[in-house]
């Protein structure tokens, strides 16, 4: 590939996706991911699968062999039952050579400090990561990247990028978490109704949906596990049509949420975004969006889930 002037000036955003197994890590890197988000669900929420420390070590080897990175999600809101194992876990992640740990609870920072670990840290507090000054605060505490809330529009993201003194990452595709409770709401509801949460509802390949009475077309996946209840968005963010605008902003990393999607779907989405990023990087001025990219995603898109721009072009009130 010959370098032209533009590709020298333009730094490609990193393309990443969440993965739940070694197999997924391997396939996603092949499909074009620069980085994968993985983790042990004991210390993480909402990953497509749980990986042990030895799986993670394997994933790191595999990824590093292909110039890809492994970020480990440690995004729990920690309670005292979970706290004692945190230091050892972080220590073993460092020994695996992971490229970064993604955290939200300051307990992770304290554990890193207490053990003088040299882990690279990325900060996310999900929907509460909403301004650059707070991002810079966490950067000052040792975080090298901030993962932005999905409920921000293009203008806010642009200003965030201008104000942040470190890397920023946004989600470009997939569903988002919109509610997290420590309560087991589905189980409680069924108990109230005199029913049990039978395996019928929990089989692999089955998903529970929450639908508000007045909004029958908006079907929110609702996931209940040991950590409580998670409600996910009824739509999938899809920014492929405006990816050039996001690249113009100089955003450092683009994330695809792989949760509750098939392998085939995620690999297709990765290939499409990969191609768009590479096309743009090769010639920003000559870049044109291709319908075939969106068509490829549409072909595999669950018709019950709308592809939207998320909050990119929205104005919220309060």
């Amino acid at each position: 590939m010959s370098d032209n002037q533009a590709s020298v000036a333009f730094r490609k955003p990193e393309l990443s996706i969440s993965a739940g197994s070694l197999e997924e890590v391997k396939l996603y890197i092949e499909a074009g991911a620069d980085a994968v988000m993985v983790g042990d669900l004991t210390y993480a929420e909402r990953l497509p699968g749980s990986m042990t420390v030895s799986d993670i070590a394997e994933a790191v080897k595999l990824a590093h062999g292909q110039q890809a990175r492994v970020y480990v999600v440690v995004n729990k809101i920690f309670d005292h039952d979970l706290l004692p194992g945190l230091g050892d876990y972080l220590q073993s992640l460092q020994e695996c050579g992971v490229d970064a740990v993604i955290f939200g609870d300051p307990a992770v920072l304290m554990a890193v400090k207490d053990r003088s670990l040299g882990l690279n840290l990325h900060w996310t507090a999900e929907m509460t990561t909403t301004n650059y000054m707070t991002a810079n605060y966490w950067a000052n505490k040792g975080s090298s990247r901030t993962i932005l809330a999905r409920e921000l529009n293009m203008e806010e993201i642009a200003e965030f990028k201008r104000g942040a003194n470190h890397e920023i990452q946004i989600q470009v595709h997939g569903m988002t978490n919109i509610y997290h409770s420590k309560r087991k709401l589905v189980k409680h509801y069924l108990t109230h109704r005199g029913k049990k949460l039978t395996p019928e509802y929990q089989q692999d390949g089955k998903i529970l949906y929450l639908v508000e009475k007045e909004r029958p077309d908006e079907r929110c996946p609702i996931i209940e596990n040991e950590n409580g209840t998670h409600i996910m968005s009824s739509d999938d963010i899809c920014t492929i049509e405006c990816l050039d605008e996001l690249m113009e902003l100089g955003i450092d990393a683009f994330y695809i949420e792989g949760l509750l999607k098939s392998l085939e779907y995620n690999m297709t989405v990765l290939r499409v975004y990969r191609e768009a990023i590479d096309t743009y990087a090769a010639d920003p001025a000559g870049y044109e969006f291709r319908d075939e990219w969106l068509d490829a995603i549409h072909e595999l898109q669950d018709p019950g889930r709308e592809l939207t721009f998320g909050f990119l072009f929205k104005e919220q009130v309060y």
Partner: protein, 426 residues
């Protein structure tokens, strides 16, 4: 109910009991005064910006000054909620706003966003920082982090259990505040954007439209939902729909355990609640706390405190995460609001002991023949039937119809200025 301490509790925990602060909501200046008169040691209010109740009255700087002056006279403190998660556009003006709070003499701000914490350190050096429950702080390591950052108090997540609270107190020397009464998010606070997604209203900047209390259906389907229909519906016609609605918190029955846990501040939720609600709830907790501190071993939970709270509250109550994880009994599936049992009818403005006549400022319709109750911060508590009523000119009236109208009537027992008169609703 007689509280009996276990041998372990009596011998093992030699911690000296400290009097906790009773912290009450004040949606406006009048509510602030009532909360303090009825026993709050501190109140929290919202200003024109940066708070999470964009629909509340909220205080102007001038009203804050008056509130602080009133609080000072009564030995009480005033905190201002600045606990939004700010967006970039909220940052300009933040410094000036916080500086003004400092000049007004606000004792503390309740804050979640580090951008506001950092700005406040520069702009409002004499204002204490209280970390909001919006940060969902649940463990002592996180509390230690915030202490190192200069926060003087942490309001714990509502998910904290009594055991976790005690462990946090053991590990970190910092003031701990917990919610003991009022409405609760069923999610981790701050970790809910249902309003944003359903209605484009930003929940973490005060736009919450309480989507958790709406009615929902549940369906089971294949992972890739390729058909329009669902394979199974868990909700059924004629049955209670699914909802995330939580019962309200009420810890009136557990004041001894709360005090023994070492919690420094007991917080009541409800800046949107009425004067009657705030005064009644504060009054009940004030009496319970004082009663326990006077004589921990002779303490008895009084039925009247429970009844008082029942007269103000309009949602069923639970103890949240304090003792065990909430289950189905801690949620509201059936029609949520039980009809309010009592209403604020009037406020005592004057009393003449010689004639037994009181001057009452009308707050809701009342009339002769109706049963009313008087309650007051000094323990006033009696029922009577309203006799003849008169206007200030001495003209008899068939009913007190006009808001804030002054009414003269005979009362059966002595009352004091600012005692409340309430009427039973049908």
């Amino acid at each position: 109910m007689k509280i009996t301490m276990s041998r372990e509790e009596m011998l093992g925990k030699r911690r000296k009991l400290a009097l906790p602060e009773l912290l009450a909501p004040a949606g406006n200046l009048e509510k602030l005064k009532f909360a303090i008169r009825y026993g709050a040691d501190a109140v929290y209010i919202g200003g024109q910006r940066y708070g999470l109740r964009s629909n509340a009255d909220n205080f102007s700087f001038e009203e804050m000054r008056e509130g602080v002056a009133f609080a000072r006279q009564h030995g009480a403190k005033v905190f201002v909620a600045t606990n939004i998660y700010a967006h970039n556009e909220d940052l300009p003006g933040l410094h000036d706003y916080l500086s003004e709070l400092d000049r007004i003499g606000i004792d503390a701000i309740i804050v979640a966003d580090p951008a506001i914490i950092e700005t406040a350190k520069r702009a409002a050096p004499s204002v204490e920082l209280h970390l909001s429950t919006q940060q969902s702080t649940l463990n002592w390591q996180a509390v230690r982090f915030w202490k190192d950052e200069g926060v003087s108090r942490v309001v714990l997540a509502r998910e904290a259990s009594m055991r976790e609270i005690e462990e946090i107190k053991e590990h970190v020397a910092i003031e701990i505040e917990v919610f003991i009464h009022g409405a609760m998010c069923s999610s981790y606070s701050g970790r809910c954007v249902l309003s944003n997604h359903f209605t484009d209203r930003d929940s973490n900047r005060g736009g919450c439209c309480q989507s958790c209390r709406w009615k929902y259906d549940l369906f089971v389907s294949e992972e890739e939902l390729l058909t329009e229909s669902y394979s199974a519906q868990l909700t059924a016609e004629g049955e209670d729909p699914f909802t995330m609605s939580s019962k309200d918190m009420c810890m009136i029955e557990h004041i001894p355990a709360l005090i023994r846990s070492g919690v420094d501040s007991f917080k009541i939720e409800g800046r949107m609640k009425s004067i009657h609600y705030v005064a009644t709830v504060v009054n009940a907790y004030r009496q319970a706390i004082d009663s326990y501190m006077r004589d921990p071993f002779g303490y008895e939970l009084k039925q009247e405190w429970l009844e008082e709270i029942g007269k103000a509250a309009n949602r069923p109550v639970s103890t949240g995460f304090f003792f065990e994880e909430p289950d189905h009994d801690d949620h509201i599936y059936t029609p949520e609001d039980k009809p309010q049992a009592y209403d604020f009818a009037g406020l005592v403005m004057d009393y003449d002991a010689a004639s037994g006549m009181a001057v009452i400022e009308q707050r809701n319709h009342f009339k002769p023949g109706q049963e009313v109750e008087f309650i007051g911060p000094d323990g006033t508590h009696f029922k009577q039937i309203v006799g003849d009523i008169y206007d200030t000119e001495g003209q008899p009236l068939d009913a007190a119809r006009h808001p804030l109208q002054l009414i003269r009537m005979h009362v059966d027992h002595p009352v004091m200025k600012f005692d409340m008169m309430r009427k039973k609703l049908n």
